[in-house]
Symmetry: C2
Subunit: 404 residues, 2 copies
């Protein structure tokens, strides 16, 4: 993975899983597809860690050298494994693809490891032990690795290790900057007990707050954590939209589902990104009849009944236009709520009056319309993402009644 | 970044930039926000590398300890830097946000480094040298880091190092699996000259092929690379949709722009994801009037004129329905081409006849309609992504005339 064209999401996920077990991630290391580099990396990591996870390099192509390298490193040889051979054959029958010779190579495994069968793909995982250290090699395909970890590897790790506890709680905020949060949270940080730590993880208009606590196993730490979280919440209640793996779209979906109400969208500068997020939630069809991306003037008029005069007088990026878009959208989709956005995502299209990043958002409810103006001044992708977050967060606050 | 809730995209990007300079990435290491761990990491990395890049930990909050740690590691002390102070003050004036005391702390910099001013944010970068090794510390916000690297750091690196050359060429394929590509490319791999290497980087329905060559600087390696790329292309011409940073949506945008033709979309199971990708391209408004996400039966009928009888007889996920959706969409948006997709993204909604992952795609041109059936059988997010790629790739092939 070293050239940098592939983003490593695996190690982040593994770290998260380990931290839930109270196992501290000591380091993450990436090295090239080179036998010597892999060996050097193993030597470095085993000095500081008890468990070393390896992902990738187990595929059927020639640049996949991890299996051979590990086999040599632990002094074994490759032998055919009948169970894995059946798994591979079965996998290709199931996905109705022809089995290639190179795929059968995946049934050759080192005789110095415990093979962990992989029903989600073709390359099995391998569990090596040496001098009290554990090495687990898994395929790099995230879907396969995550299933192998959850179903096969983590249960074994749990059996083997009894550690102290690390607790984590993540609170998710939107629409407030890191420095402002830090100001509001100063009294909280000033009183944090020994062993507690607060981390700010900012990403565009969202900041994840991760509170960690280390200590001996038992109920006391959990109680302390609950108290600390309650205090933290009391300082920034309206900025928090969720916890842990929540997303704005998930929170909104839950709110709409509870009420049996529906939402439609009229997107201009976000180009379908809000719809994509809303529909990423399983079951969203219950509250989302659909949406329009009205990129052109014509479509704003034809599909959303925006008036010619409005576009001419105020332009597409204006409070008046998003108001009319939201009205047309709500009628078109027979929905309870609608969101309309129009802005200049860039890099072109900016003017002195309305520079790149200027965005108008309207949220319409059965009896009211709310509008907001934003100046994001970022690049195209970031302007789109920040608009999406701002729109979803405004709807969320309206649904909760915290915006009047 | 160690708990694993933040995905590290920075190191991947830096690796890519260095490889373009012919500087080989030796390793990537992530350690926790802990002074001793940072020091240990620096000690390990400096034994194998000439340049060490550090990102993150320079923010205004208390968990940001990189600056203090580096200052101590290199034996300096923090002093106020007047230029940085002005930068920080100016930045907050520009974004119209109040300046907090914590932000002014960013003007305190180690006296043992060269400060690299940061007009894109508030924390400056720092360039340390010790025993012939270079250490560059930058903010972790990707936008700031990338600008600092491109405008300030890379020019300095170029001045200092004269290395051998590593060439990379990336060919992008869609719609063909890794094993099938490997079969087609066997004769190519069998003849690869010394110093050349081919890597397969699969991601859902796309595989990036990265061909690398190392050798002395000069024209010969470049010529050899060109020959190898030509041979590779000749074996899989129709599978290649682009090169390097190309995307399907970029390639399609270029084709539509050249012809002055337009595209509209009627998305069901992809929920706006195709529109998002089309509109991620600056200037896409020239060929994209807009699109519809028709999630409900009603909207398929009202917005796209799909017949009641069609939905009743064949269901929403059927060849007949996507044909009618594509026809209604083309008329609705007055476009030359239209794409319509309907499928079962999952996890719910599957039946024996049409299991989760069943997807119908239609692409309509001024005089013909093309339909395709897919069985992706993945999770929701992957089914959506694979449908998006398949739809865009089908349109691309139709535009190029390689599908009849």
């Amino acid at each position: 993975m070293l050239i940098g064209q592939v983003i490593d999401t695996n190690s982040a996920w593994i770290g998260q899983q380990m931290s839930l077990l109270g196992i501290r991630l000591e380091a993450r290391l990436a090295v090239g597809d080179d036998e010597q580099e892999i060996r050097n990396g193993l030597q470095f990591l085993r000095t500081g860690a008890d468990i070393i996870f390896l992902t990738g390099g187990l595929g059927p192509t020639r640049d996949d050298i991890t299996k051979k390298t590990l086999c040599g490193y632990f002094g074994g040889k490759l032998i055919e494994n009948e169970a894995v051979k059946q798994d591979v054959t079965g996998f290709f029958e199931r996905v109705k693809r022809p089995l290639l010779e190179s795929n059968l190579q995946q049934a050759m495994v080192p005789d110095c490891c415990e093979v962990i069968r992989n029903p989600w793909g073709t390359a099995p995982a391998m569990w090596f032990e040496q001098e009290g250290k554990i090495f687990v090699s898994m395929p790099g395909v995230p879907f396969e690795m995550k299933n192998l970890m959850t179903e096969r590897v983590i249960p074994r790790i749990r059996e083997r290790f009894q550690t102290g506890v690390i607790l984590h709680r993540t609170l998710l905020t939107a629409g407030i900057g890191e420095s402002f949060l830090a100001e509001k949270l100063r009294p909280f940080e000033d009183q944090l007990p020994e062993g507690f730590k607060l981390a700010y993880l900012p990403n565009l208009s969202q900041v994840r707050l991760r509170l960690s606590a280390t200590g001996p196993e038992g109920k006391r730490l959990q109680v302390q954590m609950d108290e600390q979280v309650q205090y933290l919440e009391s300082l920034i209640r309206e900025d928090i939209f969720g916890y842990e793996e929540d997303t704005l779209e998930k929170v909104i979906g839950t709110l709409l589902n509870e009420r049996g109400e529906t939402l439609s969208l009229a997107e201009s500068c976000t180009g379908g990104n809000i719809a994509r997020r809303i529909t990423s939630i399983p079951g969203s069809s219950a509250y989302f009849p659909g949406s329009v991306v009205s990129y052109s003037y014509e479509m704003k008029k034809e599909l959303l009944q925006v008036k010619d005069a409005t576009l001419e007088q105020f332009g597409a990026v204006s409070e008046e236009t998003v108001k009319e878009m939201s009205a047309g959208c709500r009628v078109r989709f027979h929905s309870d709520y609608s969101i309309a956005v129009s802005g200049i995502a860039g890099p072109g299209g900016g003017t002195t009056d309305k520079p790149v990043g200027t965005v108008w958002i309207a949220v319409r409810t059965p009896d009211k319309v709310y509008t907001r103006l934003f100046h994001f001044s970022r690049n195209r992708q970031q302007n789109i993402e920040m608009t999406t977050i701002a729109a979803l967060n405004l709807l969320r606050k309206i649904l909760l009644g915290t915006v009047i």
